[in-house]
């Protein structure tokens, strides 16, 4: 049996869900990461250890396992929960670890003389943070950040296994119904490719804009 054009529309709709899941998780994950990164530089050794442990566990465990764990854990506390909610929670946690490491790298990449010169200019700590650290970290983090955004789109496909209806789930449904394996997967690939490619392009555009504003290139 062959897939039909209505199947393609269904997949397009599912692709939108994948994208929505990814974008939500990126947003929440970024916020969480911004809260986490300072822990990496905290004065309290316990805080730094907690950060490293969090990153180690989240990055060392497969996303699918995290998803199953979260789904069953949340279900055991709150009974029926929406797979979508669980999905967003998992992706948020997953992305937060990746983003936090990127931001941490960005902070470390700030050349040492800049810390000294901002202090010697007598800038307040708050001022240094907003006017020196944040713009530079943002600039340094942009390429790997976008890379992780692409990973977010790809990770959303894993949620299909905890019954989240998105593009990969829809594709499998259609394959099991029509056995039109190659065509369905080709269409799914096109959708994913467009989404990932678009993120990449947006990123290049943003990098171009930042460069035009006079930021230096890659840090030394």
């Amino acid at each position: 049996m062959e897939m039909t054009s209505s199947d393609v529309w269904v997949m397009a709709h599912a692709a939108q869900i994948s994208l929505a899941l990814a974008l939500c998780s990126i947003a929440f994950g970024t916020i969480l990461a911004v809260l986490l990164t300072p822990l990496a530089f905290a004065r309290l050794a316990i805080a730094r250890f907690a950060y490293r442990l969090y990153v180690f566990v989240v990055r060392g465990t497969p996303v699918l396992l995290l998803a199953l764990l979260t789904f069953y854990a949340l279900a055991s506390y709150w009974g029926r929960i929406s797979p979508y909610a669980a999905g967003v929670v998992v992706l948020t946690i997953y992305l937060s670890a990746l983003f936090a490491e990127i931001f941490r790298g960005g902070v470390l990449a700030i050349p040492n003389p800049l810390w000294d010169s901002s202090k010697s200019l007598g800038l307040s700590r708050r001022s240094i943070f907003w006017r020196v650290v944040t713009p530079l970290v943002a600039r340094y983090s942009l390429p790997p950040y976008l890379n992780v955004c692409v990973m977010a789109v790809k990770a959303s496909s894993v949620l299909s296994i905890i019954s989240v209806w998105e593009l990969t789930f829809a594709s499998r449904e259609i394959i099991e119904r029509t056995l039109d394996v190659y065509r369905v997967l080709a269409v799914a690939s096109v959708f994913y490719f467009i989404m990932c490619f678009a993120i990449d392009r947006v990123g290049r555009w943003m990098e171009g804009r930042l460069a035009a504003k006079g930021f230096a290139g890659e840090p030394a």
Binding site: F56, V57, G60, T61, P62, V63, L64, L65, L68, L69, Y72, A73, S76, V150, V153, K154, A155, S156, S157, V158, S160, I161, T168, S171, R172, I175, L179, V181, Y182, L185, A188, S189, Y192, F193, C196, F197
Partner: protein, 217 residues
């Protein structure tokens, strides 16, 4: 305490077996992916512009789609083509196709990182091109690739968990089965996670040791 003891005795073996499968698939796939990635890299190096474009297209495609798609492609597609191979092999092939693409990029990055004077110096010594490559370029590519390859090995290990979607009884699948069977909420998943973390740590340790043992940096 006794409850945990009973639990371990009942299911410990199952977990170890599943962990064995995870490792087996991961190791076999990684080795094949290294070979496949090396072939792709050489094809780009030595082939003409069309080979370069085709390989690049393949790499770009695989980098922008989720791993589940190639897995489904092989798992559902092979039987259609008359190849009734075990799910683990199908999954392994998909992992090789995917990771091979990334590994070829790793080799390519390492190659580009060698400064231009090296091949010039080798040529100026009157070495034949392939000999210059073998003695000068290749050793450096291999050493520079170690950190990224270690990273890729970790990613591949984690991706084996997706094979649970095609009925392979590896760690994730085992944890899921046990959770449903025993109603133990989520404990089996935690155990599986510990297994994964242990394996990841070993891989990272190996990569770090390998990189550090190179005396000439």
């Amino acid at each position: 305490m006794g409850q945990y003891r009973a639990w371990v005795e009942a299911y410990g073996v199952a977990f170890l077996e599943a962990a064995g499968w995870t490792l087996a698939v991961a190791v076999a796939s990684f080795i094949c992916a290294l070979i496949w990635g090396a072939l792709l890299f050489f094809a780009r190096l030595r082939g003409g512009i069309w080979t370069d474009r085709i390989v690049d297209g393949y790499v770009q495609l695989l980098r922008n789609i989720p791993v589940l798609l190639p897995i489904y492609l092989i798992y559902f597609g092979f039987p259609l083509a008359g190849l009734l191979w075990p799910a683990a092999i199908c999954g392994g092939i998909a992992l090789v196709l995917q990771n091979g693409a990334y590994i070829s990029e790793i080799f390519r990055g390492a190659y580009k990182a060698i400064d231009r004077v090296q091949p010039d110096a080798a040529r100026s010594l009157g070495l034949l091109p392939w000999m210059a490559f073998r003695k000068v370029t290749l050793p450096q590519i291999l050493v520079h690739s170690i950190p990224a390859l270690g990273n890729q090995a970790v990613l591949l290990l984690k991706d084996t968990s997706l094979l649970s979607a095609i009925t392979v009884v590896e760690l994730t699948m085992q944890a899921k089965v046990l959770t449903e069977r025993t109603g133990a909420a989520y404990a089996p998943f935690v155990v599986a996670a510990i297994f994964y973390l242990a394996m990841v740590s070993v891989i990272e340790l190996l990569a770090r040791t390998a990189h550090r043992s190179v005396r000439w940096k």
